[in-house]
Amino acid sequence: MDRQVVSLVLGRLGLALITILIVSFVVFAATEMLPGDVAQILLGQAATEEAVAGLRMAMHLDDPAILRFLRWLAGLAQGDLGTSYANNMRIAELIGARLANTLALAAVTTIVAVPVALFLGITTAMYQGRLYDRTVNTLVVGIISVPEFMIATLAVLVFAVWLRWLPALSFASDVSGLLDVLRAYAMPVITLAVVISAQMIRMTRAAVIETLKMPYTEMALLKGASRPRIVLRHALPNAIGPIVNAVALSLSYLVGGVIIVETIFNYPGIAKLMVDAVATRDLPLIQTCAMIFCLSYLVLITAADIVAILSNPRLRK
């Protein structure tokens, strides 16, 4: 690989590393601002002064902030995620199952959304300006302009209240059989898939149209090539980079969307866990969940950037 490309990619990865450090600091600082004395909360109102002081010392709560930050970081790196205040369980056990649930939701959404979005994005670019394109475009703009909870409520209204195909809000914990699983998953997946597909369609369409504006596309037209041929053989190979970039960026929207969707559908995932932890001021849990989110987000946008670097035709030698 070209030396310049390698150095750019390494630079981007290095940047990601620095970012993660800054982000972890921000997360730590933000959670430290949560009001209330942690030791007091844990021991309850009836605790004595000495007991609270003792607990504070045992939890190193009186150490300077930097020291606590570093200790926390070291713990994370070693896999020690700490203990949840509210549940008095090891966090690692607590989030294990929930993380798996969220990942499952994200995976299913991706599998559903990406092919549909790519197809729609590319074909609308191919037939830009026609009725098909304008209809899809209007829908897409509508979807990305509205809050996720609105998509969720509309989905519930349409599928559960009016059509009665799917159960409404509660996630049945006793699932018997594949059909039940599908029915339980359907609503959250539909909501999330609609939201990120819209983003993906918009960005893919823009990427393909950008490549179609290139002069070599006009040249292909003047050689007698047909529209599908121009798009598939000339535009697409040059648009692959921006398209993958678009996919990665759209998937990063999952991180935010999942917070709303899990809350509204009561889905037992890690986002719901974090929202509940904020309500109970469960510091270590909030910190860990936030780090997981930030890490996933960072991985996706770094991947998107690296794809953009690799696919830049000017760097190709």
Binding site: V141, V161, G256
Partner: protein, 281 residues
């Protein structure tokens, strides 16, 4: 490759198309409501006026009633000032900060540019909902905190955009001519750069306004935004979510209000009135 047109008489003016006009009307409508909403409500927003909670849309209650029996229309009209007001304040702060920092970074360059860009990129790497969640949970949900948090979240994006524009203009010959004349940095930023990026920056302001409205509504929906007894549109959805299985209008109406605002802003940006200027010798 350029197509040049023969000389024609000059015509200056604005050309609106229908969609742009409608969008602008909706936005102005909500702006007015945000200012005088509480005086226009048919019923006092906080008062229970109907024993039938989650009541349907009727001649008496145009948009139905909420989970306690209060008039939804009134609550939406009253809530407009929170949604619109907070978002507008936040976006103005964010874009102003972003533009000033972006232009300075573009013109001065060097270490200032690098440090600022790295810092703001790092800030951008935190998912916005998460950041809002954690900060607001920590510092409380007062209006100033909300405005400040939202502004901080969206400053990096505005910075990046303004900086890219400014860098582009900076390389133009007319800036080199001004520099060669001996002009100082403040002149370059204010007179040469700013007028040329103002248009796109205003469009960007519109886009960020939409993002902020959506984020604020999302936070309120999670219970971390505007707190009772005040309610913005997101809080209204949260309060009335129990009516969803019954298909009550109370759940949908505030969402539709949000949608009308955000879609109108998006449509206006896409259909900006174009200044027409026929080229003439």
């Amino acid at each position: 490759m350029a197509i040049t047109f023969p000389t024609t008489p000059r015509r200056i003016g604005y050309r609106f198309n229908a969609v742009g006009a409608v969008a602008l009307a909706v936005i102005l409508f909500w702006a007015v409501i945000a200012l005088v909403g509480p005086w226009l409500t048919p019923y006092p927003p906080g008062e229970i006026v109907d024993f039938d909670y989650f009541g349907p849309m009727s001649a008496q209650f145009w948009l139905g009633t909420d989970y306690l029996g209060r008039d939804i229309l009134s609550r939406i009209l009253a809530g407009a000032r929170y949604t619109v007001g907070i978002s507008l304040a936040a976006v103005i702060i964010a874009v102003t900060a972003g533009v000033v920092l972006g232009m300075t970074a573009a013109v001065i360059g060097g270490w200032l540019d690098t440090v600022l860009s790295r810092l703001l990129d790092a800030l951008n790497s935190i998912p916005s909902k998460l950041f809002g969640l954690v900060v607001v949970a920590g510092l409380g949900s007062s209006i100033p905190v909300l405005i400040g948090t939202l502004a901080v979240i969206y400053t990096p994006g505005a910075y990046r955009f303004a900086r890219a524009l400014a860098v582009n203009v900076n390389t133009m010959d007319f800036v080199a001519v001004a520099r060669a004349r001996g002009e100082g940095t403040p002149y370059l930023i204010g007179q040469e750069l700013l007028p040329n990026i103002l248009g796109p920056v205003l469009a960007d302001l519109g886009l960020r306004f939409v993002f902020i409205v959506l984020l604020l509504s999302g936070l309120s929906f999670l219970g971390l935004g505007v707190q009772p007894p005040n309610a913005d549109w997101g809080s209204l959805v949260r309060e009335n979510i129990g009516g969803l299985p019954f298909g009550a209008p109370a759940v949908l109406m505030p969402s539709l209000a949000i949608a009308s605002l955000t879609i109108s802003v998006n449509l206006l940006i896409d259909n900006l009135p174009t200044k027409i200027r026929d080229r003439s010798a």
